[in-house]
Symmetry: C2
Subunit: 326 residues, 2 copies
């Protein structure tokens, strides 16, 4: 990777503020929510659901944004592209990402829907179930993609969730083209098994031809290839992209690249409090290792450490400087 | 206390959303902040300080509002009066307090300053230092005091901070008059040693004649009587109000009432994470005990349990149902 890179990683994703509350399984059942997944909801549903949720705490979130925050916390040079509205939550999102040293210059929307929010219900088993109102983040367009920034980032990191808003998908494609044209790497997180369900054919095409590094958890991998078994999915994805980093919660991760295979144990966690952001922070640690020239086992190990930190407390952003943990 | 009471406690206070971040002592020094205290700041200072703070989390706060939230979490019937703006943070505040079952009907301001926020800097020693932009909460007026609600609450609970906005002070006085006229009890938290500094003469007058139950920590007590020693302050306040509940952090609390004196040990805490809300939650536990007819030692003990819960995590509102702890 070129030494002239301005940033280690440029992330593109939905710019979201999370609203977390503690709820029980009966609450999920009452509202037809599937534990551990993300559902898209409209403004009316968001308002109704929020009205029934318990007291919340607001923390900046968004999948790729969490990864970029994690990378910044590890000491990487980072940038983020995503759309907020010029409202209070939009200012919160911008503040929180910039406070970590992330370059974030996407112009906020001055009209239309408010800043996106994700209602995150944390159940007593520390699982999180998410309902996202995309709001202003769905207004990301190709015009928001900073060509020079993408061309000068070692890796451009994209979240699969960007395929939900049609214009954001075009922004995604534009970024991939710029990065590839500049000889840079492209990384993709498959985001969520239902997201993979919605865009399976396109995601398979991306894995085969568009992106270099793919992050998927077990459920996403199985959904991508419509198989019931992790190992079967592993055989499918192997050789279809330069690097596949497959996460398995407490079972750790499996990293594939050409003939290389690494089975990496999970980092120890004294108490799992809230799994929100586990995959996002694994990607942060992994990409940090990669941009610093570490070997793939080490990348997976750093990913595990970053994930372990974020699941030990409420919220999907690190509470301590991750650089102090590695 | 009459069985006809609609609410155990009606609280009146500034309606504030807290923005918490982890900062070090050098940050406090750079910004001339005195650890453990609350400073009032204007909109410009708030914006400048926020811009330099690290990533934050937003949680509903406000001193009396925290106490009412704690009371609701303990199972008490509660109401709250305080002013927000009709903006996003105002909706967050209203949601969070109502989600606990608190009656909250104060009409939001439709113009003027935004909802109040308190920038809370948590240092590695778990102390909190606060800068409050009062915003819309300073717009509380006597017209916002619901006469029937106050007259039908066993105890009306007021925060000393209300003396900062001039109209809120009038609202405070009106509520005291209504409560006294209805034969109810009035409780006051002295809030902060600098707040006591600003209004010492009036607070002494209130303690002597206006209120029945006073909450003060060691610093506030010493400031009230301009003495250097806790015991000296204790001798001053003794007999000047029906009940004085004096908190001393890890040393527990001292409860005075006529000839009665109780020295109550602090509840054990495995790790102190953030002391924000300790005094507010002590008051919640104490008032819960009092409205349920418990003796004064027991009131202090429940106060200690509620305070111990809130200092074991980030934020000034309980994370678990306090009713499960007593």
């Amino acid at each position: 990777m070129a030494d002239t890179a301005l940033h280690d990683v440029a992330g593109i994703g939905n710019a979201i503020v999370d609203v977390l509350s503690h709820e029980n399984d009966a609450f999920l059942a009452k509202h037809d929510l599937v534990k551990g997944t993300m559902a898209l909801i409209d403004a009316d549903r968001a308002q109704a659901l929020y009205g029934e949720m318990g007291p919340g705490i607001e923390i900046s979130g968004g999948s790729a944004a969490n990864t970029i925050a994690g990378l910044a916390s590890l000491g990487a040079k980072t940038a983020f592209i995503g759309k907020v509205r010029d409202d209070e939550l939009g200012k919160v999102f911008a503040h929180d990402v910039r406070a970590l040293g992330v370059k974030f210059d996407t112009a906020p929307a001055t009209e239309g829907l408010p800043t996106a929010r994700c209602l995150v219900m944390v159940t007593p088993d520390a699982q999180r179930t998410m309902c996202t109102f995309l709001g202003a983040s769905g207004g990301l367009t190709p015009a928001d993609i900073d060509e020079d920034m993408i061309a000068a980032a070692k890796i451009t990191y994209l979240e699969g969730y960007l395929w939900d808003p049609p214009q954001a998908k075009e922004a995604f494609r534009k970024a991939v083209d710029i990065a590839k044209g500049a000889g840079r790497k492209v990384a993709l997180s498959l985001s969520d098994k239902f997201c993979v369900d919605r865009f399976r054919a396109e995601f398979r095409e991306l894995v085969d031809h568009g992106v270099d590094i793919v992050f998927a958890n077990e459920e996403e991998l199985k959904s991508l290839y419509e198989v019931d078994d992790f190992d079967e999915g592993l055989q499918h994805i192997r050789g279809h992209c330069e690097i596949a980093a497959l996460t398995r919660s407490a079972k750790g991760s499996v990293v594939l690249s050409g003939d290389e295979v690494h089975v990496v144990d999970a980092a120890p966690v004294s108490k799992v409090v809230d799994t929100t952001g586990a995959g996002d922070l694994y990607a942060a640690g992994f990409l940090y290792g990669l941009t610093q020239g570490r070997d793939l086992h080490e990348c997976g190990r750093i990913g595990g450490i970053a994930a372990a930190e974020v699941i030990s407390h409420i919220g999907a952003r690190p509470e301590v400087a991750l650089s102090s943990l590695i």
